[in-house]
Structure formats: structure tokens, C-alpha cells
Amino acid sequence: MRRDIFQAIADPTRRAILVLVAVHAMTPNAIAEHFAITRQSISKHLRILSECELLAQKQDGREIYYELKMDKMKEIDIWLDQFREIMEKSFEQLDQVLFTIKNKKK
């Protein structure tokens, strides 16, 4: 199922889960202890985050651990950095164009 990653991280509980597992991998039970909501809702949040590929599961013995999968978040940040830089450079060119037009008018 296709999930919207923005929608996924817009939810405060899901953002908090990401922050928790960013530090170290955790079991669903350990994650649930941090929230005053049902274990069932935690499972739902974990499922959504997994479907967005923000969380990865790894098996250790009988326990399943969730850990943060960084790639997509990082890719988006890289894109945003590029976008910022390109806008910044374009605006510097616009400064020059404006300067030239103003001088022509004088």
C-alpha cells in the first residue's frame, strides 16, 4: 500500500516514535511504554511508518525490533538543500538583472 510520507510524519505520535527509535532499535512493547495510548494504536502507527519505509524491522531471537530507516528522510533533506541553493543563486542573478535594468532607466 502506498503511503504519503508527509502525512506519516505530520502525526505527533509517529514523530515521537521516530525520535525514540532514532536513538536505538526498540521492541513494540518498549515503544508503547512511552505513550498513554493502546498497544493496538501503537501497532497501527508502527505499521504506517513501516509502509512509508521510515521504519525497518529486525528480528533478534523471538523479539522484533524497530529501527529508523534514514534513507528517504535524508534524500528529501538533500533535495531541500539543493532547492535552497538553487533559489539562492537564481536570486543573486536577479539582483544583477535588476541592477542592470535600473541603470538603463537612469
Binding site: D4, F6, A10, L80, I86, F91, F99, K102
Partner: protein, 170 residues
């Protein structure tokens, strides 16, 4: 002159906010953002630049443009901005797509972003605020993923071109 530049991202609402001051009066800055002959002079960092194919600046009209770096290479990707709202010398809002050279929106036809450009006259400066709302991060993420795939397959140049197209698709 010190000119403010501010760039913030609100991931929760998938919106990018850009504020920039320009050392020119409102009339000139407005023209620089709405007239093809000026837009083509500054949009896109060197060696890339915007080349306008069509500009019809009125509500319901559209701006069809591409990014070029070499006059001899026929562009394959175009960007389309439809003008949804225009408040002269104050703001205009566009809906943005990727398109083919005739301005037919890309196969999937989805909108990549809604962009509102607002202009405010100051004493010696004009402030432009750009609010770019992505339709969803899933789409941005898909574009990014596509770009990386291309980048790996055919070298960094395509990735750069891809980024350029994304960036000017506002």
C-alpha cells in the same frame, strides 16, 4: 546592500517558505517574476537557464518553460505553471506540473505544487515571499527517487538536470 534571504521548510504541512528582499521598486520586481523576457535572464543557476516557450500571464493562462544549458540540445522536460489567481502588484498563485513540449501535463497529470508569490513594497526594497506547497511528500519522494535512479544509470548530469527541472517547477 544587505538583502534578507530566508528559507524554511514545514514538513508537517509539506510547505516551503522563502523570503527574499530585492533592491528595486515593486513595479520592477513584479515584472521580473511575471514577464518571460526577464524571467529567462535569471531563473536557474548557471549554466542552466530558463527558456520560456509560452507565457500568458492572466488567470487561466499558463507559463510553459524548460531548462537549457546548451542551445544545441533539444529539451525533453518542460514545466507548466497555470495561473490560478493574480492580484496585480500584490500576489499571484500558480499550480505546477511537469509537461511535454506542448504543455500537456505529464502522464500521471498530478500537480507537483501550488505556489503563491507575494510582493510587498518597502522604502528602498521590495520583499518577495514564496510559499510553495507540495501536493504531498510522497510525490517529492518519488521525484527524488527517480532522480537518484537516473543519476546512477546515466551519470550525474541527468541528476542535475532533474533537480533543475524540479526546482524551477514552481
Amino acid at each position: 546592500m544587505n538583502l534578507l534571504f530566508d528559507f524554511t521548510v514545514d514538513k508537517a504541512t509539506s510547505t516551503i517558505h522563502i523570503t527574499r528582499e530585492f533592491a528595486a521598486d515593486l513595479d520592477l520586481v513584479w515584472d521580473a517574476f511575471t514577464k518571460a523576457e526577464i524571467l529567462d535572464q535569471w531563473m536557474g543557476p548557471k549554466p542552466w537557464r530558463v527558456q520560456t516557450k509560452e507565457m500568458d500571464f492572466r488567470v487561466g493562462g499558463r507559463w510553459l518553460y524548460t531548462m537549457i544549458s546548451d542551445e544545441n540540445v533539444k529539451p525533453t522536460r518542460y514545466s507548466l505553471a497555470e495561473f490560478l489567481e493574480i492580484h496585480p502588484k500584490s500576489s499571484f498563485t500558480t499550480k505546477n506540473f511537469f509537461a511535454d513540449e506542448n504543455g500537456n501535463p505529464d502522464n500521471s497529470g498530478f500537480s507537483f505544487s501550488i505556489t503563491k508569490n507575494s510582493f510587498k513594497a518597502g522604502a528602498e526594497k521590495t520583499t518577495v515571499h514564496i510559499e510553495k506547497k507540495m501536493s504531498s511528500l510522497a510525490e517529492l519522494e518519488k521525484f527524488v527517487a527517480m532522480g537518484y535512479k537516473e543519476g546512477i544509470a546515466v551519470g550525474m548530469q541527468n541528476l542535475d538536470e532533474y533537480f533543475e527541472t524540479l526546482v524551477t517547477n514552481q
